[in-house]
């Protein structure tokens, strides 16, 4: 019996890397009058569902996916959230 998981993955630029898109959006928000806005960083949000034996196996696989493809560890950090959605019989 395995479990289906719903995964939400957040990929963000490492703090040391300049984020020009974030800077542009920050200045856009400030021009709209939201002068209190600072430190805007833009990242990526990836959703996927996967089937795994259990949550720790799902976590391990997600870690691998992030390291190998979804994030570039040279410039990006990542984190994810996992929710069990459905039990798969068989």
């Amino acid at each position: 019996m395995s479990q289906q998981y719903h995964c939400r993955i957040y990929v963000t630029l490492r703090p040391s890397v300049l984020d020009p898109a974030g800077v542009a959006v920050q200045s856009g928000l400030q021009q709209l009058g939201y002068e209190g806005v600072e430190k805007v960083r833009i990242g990526k949000y990836i959703e996927l569902t996967m089937t795994a034996e259990n949550e720790s196996q799902a976590q391990q696989q997600l870690d691998e996916m992030c390291d190998r493809l979804l994030a570039n560890p040279v410039i990006e950090n990542y984190r994810f959230e996992i929710t069990a959605s459905q039990t798969v019989v068989g």
């Binding site: 630029l13 040391s16 890397v17 300049l18 984020d19 020009p20 898109a21 542009a24 990526k44 493809l69 979804l70 570039n72 040279v74 410039i75």
Partner: protein, 232 residues
Amino acid sequence: MKFGVIVFPGSNCDRDIATVTEGLLNQPTRMIWHQETDISDLDVIVIPGGFSYGDYLRCGAIARFSAIIPSVIEHANRGKLVLGICNGFQVLTEIGLLPGALIRNRDLHFICDRVSIRVENNHSPWTKAYSPHQVITLPIAHGEGRYYGDEDTLKGLEDNGQILFRYCAISGEITQESNPNGSLNNIAGITNKQGNVLGMMPHPERASDALTRSVEGLKLFEGLIEAKILVS
């Protein structure tokens, strides 16, 4: 000297390379579809500019898992030549054949322009037809060409003379004003430690034919052919 040009879905400077190596320099050249794996007949592998796999996720991220890539890594590890131009440079950093990464241009614009570039040294097979600190003009066309590496990476590149091309003023001076995309240390092109793998954002193949009014990129390819003659 036999050239191979990898064609990914989305490559669009592949024919330009072949036009230079085969058309202008009479060197045998073959296009390599990304699903091929045998490139043992080739001396120089070129990963051309374009938008491999649409640049989805990150530039070069998906190309990294193409069938051809293990053969490219093996080719490089055997000391043979690999050239990545623009998207090809991005692919080379994703593969790990070159350090660092290429990220969004400092000012967010896609830049299509001609810029001055300084050839840092001519001890490399890639630059032997240029003189040291020669200033050349090459076209650039990229949205994500800002070279980034952490401090250790940059120090390693500097200490080992791996930076072959820097954005510069017409006078050859390295200034922030002459840096089109915010690349750290004005980096426009780097090699691996051994020097046989080169990645560069400017397009030498677009400045090789007199019809394009500039031939300052042609020397890179001519130098390569000369280098091979000296070696063999």
